[in-house]
Each structure stands twice: as structure tokens, then as C-alpha cells.
């Protein structure tokens, strides 16, 4: 018989860890090989137990599960990571996927979905809801995936605005820096959103920050 698939759990709530462990261990093909409640323990535990799948709660006490996902992705590119969260997928799923997770499961659906999610990510597929997948696909069609950005669509001025937003500048500060009115900045933002197919200002902000973070690597 094949060795069972090794699963590592990172969640700061003991009862959730216990429930997940029992549920996953109920499946003969899986075995929980370790668990941790914080980032340092998780990094150590994963180093020693060498799991195939890691299930990570994105909001850990005192640290960010998203950061852990990024670190794990860099350290162990072959590890399949599933983000688990109490938060709605609308706001975090995309971030988790971009950080390097292959799946996003909301805790309230975990009883039904977690086992299926492990199977899915092991097959190399993304495990996200249709809605989130549709959103990502939309952006893909919009010409933007991973590090590939259609920033060439932006005019010089728009790019400047986008860059400043990414540096954490507010509309007012952008206006002051570029010496234009705030209405002008708002108009630039509206055009950038249109060109990058972003629907909201918060999405614009996220994208700008992400672009700014990746820019040095370009």
C-alpha cells in the first residue's frame, strides 16, 4: 500500500486543529504529520516532518498566515498549500492564491470541503470557488497573470499615479507630489481602473501595492 499523504496543520485554535486532525486522519490515504499554532513552530515542524500538503490559517495570532504562505512557497515550492480562514473568500482568496496557496477554504465550509480540497491541490489544480476563479480568469483575460502586467497600457502620468499609490501615498499626497488637483488624480485612478480592469478602489490599491513590491525584481 502507498504511503499516506502527509498533511501539516497551522492554526492557532486547538479545537480546530483537533477536529481537522481527526477528520483528515479518518481518510486512510491521508495522515496528519504535525501541527503548529504559530509561524516559527510551523517552519520548524514542516522542516522536520516534510509534509506534502500544508493547511494554513491566514490569520494567526501575532503574525500573518499570508506571510507564512509566501515563505513556505519560497522554501518549498513543491509543497501544496491550502489557505484556511474564517474570513470571506471575497476579500482574501485572491491574496492567498497570489501569496502561493493552491486552495482557499472558508472554515465554515471546512467539514465538507477540506478533504476534497486536499485531493484537488494534490492533483495540481486550484481549489477555489467558482466566483473567485471567475474573478481571476477575468484578470487573466485582461492580460495580467502573475508578474505579467499590462502597465504598458498606462500613460506615463497614470503610471506615476499608480506607482505612488503603491508606495502608500494617499490621493491628497499624490496630488501634491504631482502638483495637480485631487480631481485630476481621481480621474487618473478611474482610467487606471478601467485599463487594468479593476472594479474598485481597494482593488486598485492592492494591485498598486503588489506592483510596487514586485517592481525591484523587474
Amino acid at each position: 500500500m502507498n504511503e499516506p499523504i502527509k498533511v501539516f496543520l497551522v492554526d492557532d485554535h486547538p479545537l480546530v486543529r483537533e477536529g481537522l486532525t481527526n477528520l483528515i486522519n479518518q481518510q486512510p490515504r491521508f495522515r496528519v504529520c504535525g501541527e503548529a499554532e504559530n509561524v516559527p513552530d510551523a517552519l520548524r515542524g514542516i522542516e522536520t516532518s516534510d509534509p506534502d500538503v500544508a493547511i494554513v490559517d491566514i490569520s494567526l495570532k501575532g503574525s500573518s498566515g499570508l506571510e507564512l504562505i509566501k515563505q513556505l512557497k519560497a522554501l518549498r515550492p513543491r509543497l501544496a498549500i491550502i489557505a484556511l480562514s474564517m474570513h470571506d473568500e471575497k476579500f482574501y482568496a485572491e491574496r492567498a492564491i497570489r501569496a502561493g496557496a493552491r486552495g482557499y477554504v472558508m472554515k465554515r465550509e471546512s467539514t465538507k470541503k477540506i478533504v476534497a480540497a486536499i485531493d484537488e491541490v494534490l492533483k495540481g489544480r486550484l481549489c477555489i470557488s467558482e466566483q473567485v476563479a471567475a474573478g481571476l480568469a477575468e484578470k487573466f483575460i485582461g492580460g495580467r497573470t502573475g508578474n505579467d502586467w499590462p502597465v504598458e497600457l498606462l500613460s506615463d502620468r497614470e503610471l506615476e499615479v499608480f506607482n505612488l499609490l503603491g508606495q502608500g501615498f494617499e490621493t491628497r499626497q499624490v496630488a501634491e507630489t504631482l502638483n495637480v488637483s485631487m480631481k485630476t488624480v481621481q480621474a487618473y485612478c478611474a482610467r487606471i481602473k478601467q485599463k487594468l480592469k479593476l472594479s474598485t478602489a481597494s482593488e486598485l490599491l492592492r494591485e498598486a501595492i503588489r506592483w510596487h513590491e514586485q517592481e525591484p525584481q523587474r
Binding site: 479545537l15 479518518q26 472554515k107 465554515r108 485631487m182 481602473k193 474598485t200 481597494s202
Partner: protein, 361 residues
């Protein structure tokens, strides 16, 4: 009469702007001038009331001893001026009697005015003290109200956080454990597996309910982009729940670095949208959030029936609470007619007007 009263008021205002020394000098000069005029105009032209004026002014604005001195001077000037024209009454004794009478009259005037002035001053002081006490009391009451409202908000946030972080997690653990149980019962082919599965469903419903409650208690995440996200979600939920078109217009990112301010703005928007739907029967609501010159501008416009006058009490209370929230964060709140013919609420908050205690949250 009115004109004379007005003249008196203006004179009083003019005098209050002068120093004591200046007034004392002016009174002295006036007395000398009146004395000279008295002498020039001769004995049959009485100036006794004219003498009284600088004396009265000195009694009120300088001090009593000085006023007595001026009284004595006036009496002396009058007597001397009469004497200079050669005793009209024909007797020194009559002249002395008249002079003394006049001196006593002036002294009595000074005494009366002095007393009146003391009373006036005491009354003014008491009014000032009372006003200061009232101002302190109002400030203290406002501080307490603010503390109370902050404490209530903190409590809400903390309960919301607890529900989200503890209760929901606990329920998740319970759902997982029930799912494990259901799996085991199913493995043994027992019919109770279905019951156990039912428990899982019920617990999951409970998680959804608890999350809803947590969200209601702590709608805005404490991040600078929290307000934007919360309003986006609120607009989406409102559209879904009430089957209306509720949209957030926010061209460029609006960051609010004070979680307390963000929460108040959110609640103001929530109340305004609630009013638009419940009272205005609006079918389209636009929430606009933008960066203004010195701060943030939030507006909520609808296509409803607009505001009625007088307003029903419930709506009136909602408006008062909105106004109170705006006051707490130092914002200006105004109502007008929206482009769509309904109501438009505008809430503008300047960075400089946000009370300092929001910085320490």
C-alpha cells in the same frame, strides 16, 4: 428717548475701552472746563447737573475717593465763580449753605453710584462664575458622553472580535468533531450518521449566524483601507438584501488611518442608506467616498421621496445620532437634494478637526 439711550450705551462702550488714568484725566479736565463755563456764563445760568456728569463717570469708572475730590472741586468752583461775580445772594452764610448743600448732593450721588457699581460688579462676577461652572459642566458632560460612546464602541468591537476569533473557531471545531463522528457512524453503517450530519449542518448555520453578528458589531477592519472595503461589502449586501441598486463610488483609494473615525463614518453611511430605503423608498443609492482637500468626504445620495417636514420621530432620532457621530469626529454634516431628486447627505471631515484622542486608538 431711544436715541438718548443709544447715546448712553455708546458712551459706556467708549469708556470701557479706556484706562482709569485716561478717564480720571478726562473727568478732571471736564470739571475745569465746566467751572470756566460757569464763571463765563455768570450766576443766573445753573450748571449743577453738568458738574454731576464727570463726577458720576469718575464714581463709576475711576474710584470713590477721586469722585469725592471732584465733588469738592465742583462745589468750590461754583462758589468761587459766584464770589467772583460778587455775592448775588448778598450773604456769605447763604453762599456757604448752598455750596455745602451742593457738595452733599454730589457726595450722595457718588455714594449711590459707588454702591450700585459694587452691586453690579458682584452680580457680574457671579454670572461669570456661574457661566464658567456651566461651561465646565457641559464640557465634562460632553467628555463623559464621548467616553461612554467610545466605551460602547470598544465593547462592541471587543465582543465582535471575541465572537469571530473564539466562538466561531470553537463552533468550527465542533462542526469538525461532529463531521468526524458522522464519518465513524457511517463507517459502521449506523442510521444515526444522518443525525450527526444534521448536527454538522446546524453548527455550520450557527457559524454563519455568529459571523453575521460579529460583522454587525465590528463592521470596519482596523486597517487604513478598512472603510473602503467595509463600504464595498455594505453596498453589495444592501443591494442583495433590499433588491435595490446600492453602489460605492470611490475613484481613488481613500485611506483612513483612524479606526474610530472610519467606524463612525461607516455608521453614518449605514444610517443614511437605511433611511433612504426605509423612509425614502429609494431604489438606487450611491455612496461616494473621496479624498477632499484636507480630509475625507462621504456622501450618500438616493432617488427616494426626499425628506419630509416635519420628520417622523424615528427618522429624526436617526438624524440626531448621525449628527452626534459627526460631531464626535469633528465632521460637518449637511443634507440636500440629490441629483436623482431624493436626499443627499454629505459628511466632510477635515484632518485638522479630528480630535486628538482618535490618534491613540
Amino acid at each position: 428717548m431711544g436715541a438718548i439711550g443709544e447715546l448712553g450705551n455708546r458712551a459706556a462702550r467708549w469708556l470701557e475701552g479706556r484706562s482709569r488714568g485716561e478717564i480720571a484725566l478726562a473727568c478732571l479736565v471736564s470739571i475745569l472746563i465746566v467751572g470756566y463755563v460757569d464763571y463765563v456764563t455768570g450766576i443766573w445760568f445753573s450748571l449743577s447737573v453738568i458738574y454731576a456728569m464727570p463726577i458720576a463717570v469718575a464714581a463709576w469708572y475711576v474710584n470713590r475717593p477721586y469722585a469725592y475730590l471732584l465733588s469738592a472741586m465742583s462745589a468750590a468752583e461754583w462758589v468761587l465763580s459766584d464770589l467772583a461775580h460778587g455775592l448775588p445772594s448778598g450773604s456769605n452764610w447763604i453762599e456757604l449753605w448752598n455750596g455745602t448743600l451742593r457738595l452733599l448732593f454730589y457726595a450722595f450721588l457718588v455714594l449711590l453710584l459707588g454702591r450700585l457699581h459694587d452691586l453690579h460688579r458682584n452680580l457680574s462676577r457671579r454670572v461669570e462664575e456661574r457661566t464658567a461652572a456651566l461651561t465646565r459642566e457641559i464640557a465634562e458632560r460632553e467628555r463623559l458622553e464621548r467616553k461612554l460612546s467610545e466605551a460602547a464602541d470598544d465593547e462592541r468591537r471587543s465582543i465582535g472580535q471575541d465572537i469571530h476569533d473564539s466562538l466561531c473557531q470553537h463552533l468550527t471545531g465542533t462542526a469538525l468533531a461532529s463531521q468526524v463522528l458522522a464519518g465513524r457512524l457511517e463507517a459502521r453503517g449506523l442510521a444515526e450518521a444522518a443525525d450527526s450530519q444534521k448536527i454538522v449542518d446546524l453548527v455550520e448555520e450557527a457559524i454563519a449566524m455568529a459571523r453575521g453578528m460579529a460583522k454587525g458589531l465590528q463592521p470596519v477592519e482596523p486597517h487604513p483601507d478598512g472603510l473602503m472595503l467595509a463600504l464595498e461589502e455594505f453596498a453589495a449586501t444592501t443591494s442583495e438584501l433590499f433588491r435595490i441598486a446600492c453602489t460605492l463610488e470611490c475613484d481613488s483609494p481613500v485611506l483612513v488611518e483612524w479606526p474610530g473615525v472610519a467606524t463612525h463614518l461607516y455608521r453614518i453611511a449605514q444610517e443614511a442608506v437605511g433611511n433612504a430605503v426605509r423612509h425614502g423608498r429609494a431604489t438606487a443609492v450611491i455612496i461616494a467616498l473621496e479624498t477632499a482637500k484636507n480630509g475625507i468626504r462621504l456622501s450618500v445620495g438616493d432617488n427616494g421621496t426626499g425628506m419630509r417636514d416635519p420628520m417622523p420621530d424615528a427618522r429624526g432620532l436617526g438624524l440626531k445620532i448621525m449628527a452626534e457621530r459627526a460631531k464626535v469626529i469633528g465632521a460637518r454634516l449637511s443634507f440636500g437634494r440629490s441629483e436623482a431628486g431624493g436626499t443627499e447627505l454629505v459628511c466632510e471631515v477635515n484632518r485638522g478637526d479630528i480630535p486628538a484622542y482618535f490618534d491613540h486608538e
